[in-house]
Amino acid sequence: MSVPVLEVKNLRRDYVSSGGPFRPAKVVHAVKDVSFTLEKGKTLAVVGESGCGKSTLARMITLIDQQTSGEIIVDGATVEARHGVSAALRRKVQIVFQNPYGSLNPRQKIGSVLAEPLLLNTSMSPAERRDKAMTMLLKVGLQEEHFNRYPHMFSGGQRQRIAIARALMLNPSFLVLDEPVSALDLSVQAQILNLLKDLQDEFGLTFVFISHDLSVVRYIADEVMVMYFGEVVEHGSRDAVFEDPQHDYTRTLFAATPRTDISSIKARLARKSAA
């Protein structure tokens, strides 16, 4: 078997809030003892409600934030963050955030947003960088004329395409998407989900897809990991988790997810008229 793209062992992150004169210092165990393995070309979905530690996990595996304890292994090599993360390692792990507005520099044209990672990390000529940036721009469904525009001229969905394009410029080993479609309208969400699937098929990309929306997760995931108060309470293939959830919390999540199928609507209306 090939080496997993990402392996995480007993990962923990505590946040310590400094105490004040009237407040004792408090420790939040944001992520507790999380372990998993991710194979190339797969999508692992991480679900759970707000505050359960999804973004904290995302920041650790993309080496933005250091773990309190535990091990992160990228492409078979253990990350030794204490000695600083090398540029080569840093570009293997990329992240796209929920808010496509906040994560782009308003004064930077899109073309240079995309070319910048190449400028910082490679010795490509300006012409080469431009070519690569343009190719990626088209790849994510934008047009040539967008190259010289500023972020504010784009819609939310287009900005998310730009963020995805930028994250892919350096061929990362895996891409973490932290609630990438949560702020988007349904039709735009569908376009972005399609784009992610197309890119995955074409380049064999590996995704960690964070979401609180189970219908999106069911559509996009190969594997599903359910988090609850910092802990992984369930982890399995998509079909196993959806068809036979083991943990009470997973069942609660499923029960709370709105149903749009005809028989559920009929059942609701029948309950209502019986009451």
């Binding site: 409600e49 039709s187 969400q189 569908a190 699937k197 929306d213 709105p258 749009t260 609507i265 609701r268």
Partner: protein
């Protein structure tokens, strides 16, 4: 006669770029005891249409309608003092963003009691008792202690319950809920939706549920209006809408739901648009 009857509602904003029609000739009617969902993507004019009914739009908005009646009374023509007796009392609205619409500087007790004072003339102990009762009705059982809490000390779901308590404080006949669960986790969303529907049923209110979420529509509505760019695309009872959608746009929305995916790709609204980028009904 419908409780709320609106015909040909148009709202235009005077903007730097010229006149912008946010709502373009919409009809809405709601009966007592009915749950009407108004669904559409962001910017389709859902909030603006209902803010027009409430008379809460800024001066840059021009509101016109052939008919805008509440229980047969003309909301557009009635004098301001009569309108104040209806708006906020007989018609109440829960606004988008619960935390933003509660005042962070005052306790929730103060804020609920102020509504009771303003619309019902309740003061002191009577107001306090009613506030605790209202919190009880929205599922906050330790209401007496909670009255002293500030909004930031409560979770998003709790704040939304307080907003609902304030909205139902005057026994409204019509409650308009604008995206009441958009910022909430699914488990909390379910509790809030169940709460709204059970209050609607128990107290015989009419409920207008504004949402962009087809799931919320499926879980709450009797009847549905689908809105797109200020226009009504379709109106139907909830079962017909999901079973046999009549407009292209509704079909597009339903097929963009991940749970309706056929094969590996989701159709998008663009797949349903006319060649000129418009949307036919």
């Amino acid at each position: 006669m419908a409780m709320l009857e609106i015909k040909n509602l148009t709202v235009a904003f005077d903007t730097a770029a010229g006149l912008f029609k946010a709502v373009d000739g919409i009809d809405v009617s709601v009966d007592g005891r009915e749950v009407l969902a108004i669904v559409g993507e962001s910017g389709s004019g859902k909030s603006v249409a209902m803010l027009a009914v409430m008379g809460l739009l800024p001066a840059t908005a021009t509101v016109t309608a052939d008919v805008m009646n509440f229980e047969g009374k003309d909301l557009l023509a009635m004098p301001a003092n009569q309108k104040r007796a209806i708006i906020g009392k007989e018609i109440a609205m829960i606004f988008q963003e619960p935390i933003a619409s509660l005042n962070p500087c005052f306790t929730i007790g103060f804020q609920i009691e102020e509504v009771l004072n303003q619309h019902m003339g309740l003061r002191g102990n009577a107001a306090r008792q009613r506030a605790v009762e209202l919190l009880q009705m929205v599922g906050i059982t330790d209401g007496a202690e909670r009255l002293g809490a500030f909004p930031h000390q409560m979770s998003g779901g709790q704040c939304q319950r307080v907003m609902i308590a304030m909205a139902i404080a005057c026994d409204p006949k019509l409650l308009i809920a604008d995206e009441p669960t958009t910022a909430l986790d699914v488990t909390i969303q379910k509790q809030i939706l169940d709460l709204l529907v059970s209050l609607q049923d128990r107290y015989g209110m009419a409920l207008i549920m504004i949402t962009h979420d087809m799931g919320v529509v499926a879980e709450t509505a009797d009847r549905v209006i689908v809105q797109y760019k200020g226009n009504k695309m379709e109106e139907a009872d909830v079962l017909s809408l999901f079973e046999n959608p009549q407009s292209n746009y509704t079909r597009a929305l339903l097929s963009a739901l991940p749970e309706n995916a056929v094969g590996d790709r989701l159709p998008t609204v663009a797949d349903f648009e006319d060649t000129d980028g418009g949307m036919s009904r």
